[in-house]
């Protein structure tokens, strides 16, 4: 894997605030991370992969560049969080489809993307 060892796999170290604590990613860093995430997930969609954690080998084979970019722009905890959320949202959508096929009526109101897991 000498080819990829030169590319960074984690975002640059965070800026340190005046009281010595690392500052959280700002708006532009967040946008960059989300962009990397969306590209990676688009690639996963094309390859038909839902869970990139359990199907790690397959995901690395199909979307290695996107995966590297994603990991380079997001903190590792964010990467795992987004990957897990993708699986959770997939299951949720499947359940909704199933319910719709069974003739369930949608109740008024919306389900936000974070409403089910209530992860931050």
């Amino acid at each position: 894997m000498g080819l990829f060892s030169t590319t960074p796999t984690s975002p640059p170290p965070p800026k340190i605030s005046s009281d010595g604590a690392p500052i959280a990613p700002d708006r532009t860093q967040r946008a960059k991370c989300w962009e990397g995430r969306d590209e990676f997930f688009q690639c996963l969609d094309k390859s038909g992969i839902v869970d990139s954690i359990t199907e790690k080998g397959k995901a690395e084979k199909a979307c290695s560049t996107e995966g590297r970019k994603f990991e380079a722009n997001c903190a590792s905890s964010w990467v795992t969080y987004f990957k897990k959320r993708r699986v959770m949202e997939h299951h949720r959508n499947q359940t909704l489809e199933k319910l719709k096929a069974e003739g369930a009526k949608q109740m008024p109101g919306e389900i936000g993307p974070g409403a089910l897991g209530q992860k931050p």
């Binding site: 800026k15 605030s17 005046s18 009281d19 010595g20 604590a21 690392p22 500052i23 959280a24 990613p25 700002d26 708006r27 967040r30 991370c33 989300w34 997001c74 903190a75 590792s76 905890s77 964010w78 969080y81 987004f82 109101g109 919306e110 389900i111 936000g112 993307p113 974070g114 409403a115 209530q118 992860k119 931050p120």
Partner: protein, 300 residues
């Protein structure tokens, strides 16, 4: 029995037929020469005119026979008769009063419902959301629950290293604040403007300086609060906020905090009013806040 009743009825009907004075029939015309002779012997004998069929039209009785309403024309009287007791004015008044009543009852219903929601946490034996606390704001100054008194405040719990939901919600919060403060309804209000508060669930990483840098990207009026892990745990418990930060994190460790994501609207007495969730758009949330702020009465 029947034989006796039938002739008597026929007799009565003939009597009543003849006794009707307005009917100019043979009998009254027979009487007429007699009455004209006896009652008005000196005046010129009247000719029987169809317009005045009354048997004794004395001049003193004239005002009583005219009804109190006077109509200029026959057409007017006929139209009056046709429309009956209803008129356009009465109809409009009826509809207007009905619409006003419906509007009033709907408005009152909404207000009473809001009052019920707002008072659900007031009084004894109610579930208490919120309470006393003493924390530090993003400039390092002390900030406690006392500083929230006298104005409505919107409290949100989160942490700065939050991947996507907190920044989205904070952007929404900024929109809500702008919508509420720019609304003409809040300009009428005597209360100080809405106080937006962000309380971190991650005190280990969110020092005042970190919060200052983080919140500077959102609304300038936001107050960011932090403290020790115990203090934060205590506030979260009082606000019924669930969060899970490992209490013994190493420096530089990368982790996420799981927490409840609601905006808590608190009234000027520090009591919980309503929770605003992710399902509300900024416009809906601003309307909810403005409705509650509008209901507030000093000393109520």
């Amino acid at each position: 029995m029947t034989k006796r009743i039938i002739p008597s009825r026929r007799l009565l009907s003939t009597f009543s037929y003849y006794l009707q004075p307005s009917q100019p029939h043979a009998l009254s015309s027979q009487y007429r020469p007699l009455s004209t002779i006896t009652l008005v012997p000196l005046t010129k004998p009247r000719t029987t005119s169809p317009s005045c069929p009354s048997p004794s039209p004395s001049p003193s009785h004239q005002p009583h026979t005219i009804s109190k309403r006077t109509y200029k024309t026959v057409q007017e009287q006929q139209s009056r008769y046709k429309s009956g007791p209803f008129s356009w004015g009465a109809g409009l008044l009826f509809l207007g009063a009905g619409a006003a009543l419906i509007f009033f009852f709907r408005f009152e219903k909404d207000r009473v419902e809001r009052e019920r929601v707002a008072n659900a946490t007031k009084g004894v034996g109610r579930p208490k959301v919120g309470g006393e606390f003493e924390l530090v704001d993003q400039k390092g100054r002390k900030f406690g629950s006392e500083d929230m008194r006298g104005r409505y405040s919107l409290v949100y719990f989160g942490f700065s290293h939050c991947p996507d939901i907190c920044p989205e919600e904070l952007d929404k919060m900024s929109q809500m604040i702008d919508l509420v403060t720019s609304s003409p309804r809040s300009q009428k209000n005597t209360l100080p403007p809405l106080l937006p508060i962000f309380i971190t669930c991650d005190p280990a990483r969110d020092t005042p300086a970190v919060l200052d840098a983080y919140l500077s990207e959102f609304h300038p009026s936001l107050v960011g609060l932090t403290g020790t892990w115990e203090q934060i745990k205590d506030v979260c418990k009082k606000y019924r906020v669930y969060f899970s930060t490992p209490p013994d994190v190493k420096k530089g460790q990368d982790y996420l905090v799981d927490h409840s994501i609601y905006f808590y609207l608190m009234d000027p007495e520090g009591d919980f009013v309503e929770a605003i969730g992710r399902q509300h758009s900024p416009e809906q949330a601003a309307r909810i806040i403005l409705d509650h702020v509008g209901d507030w009465k000093v000393g109520a």
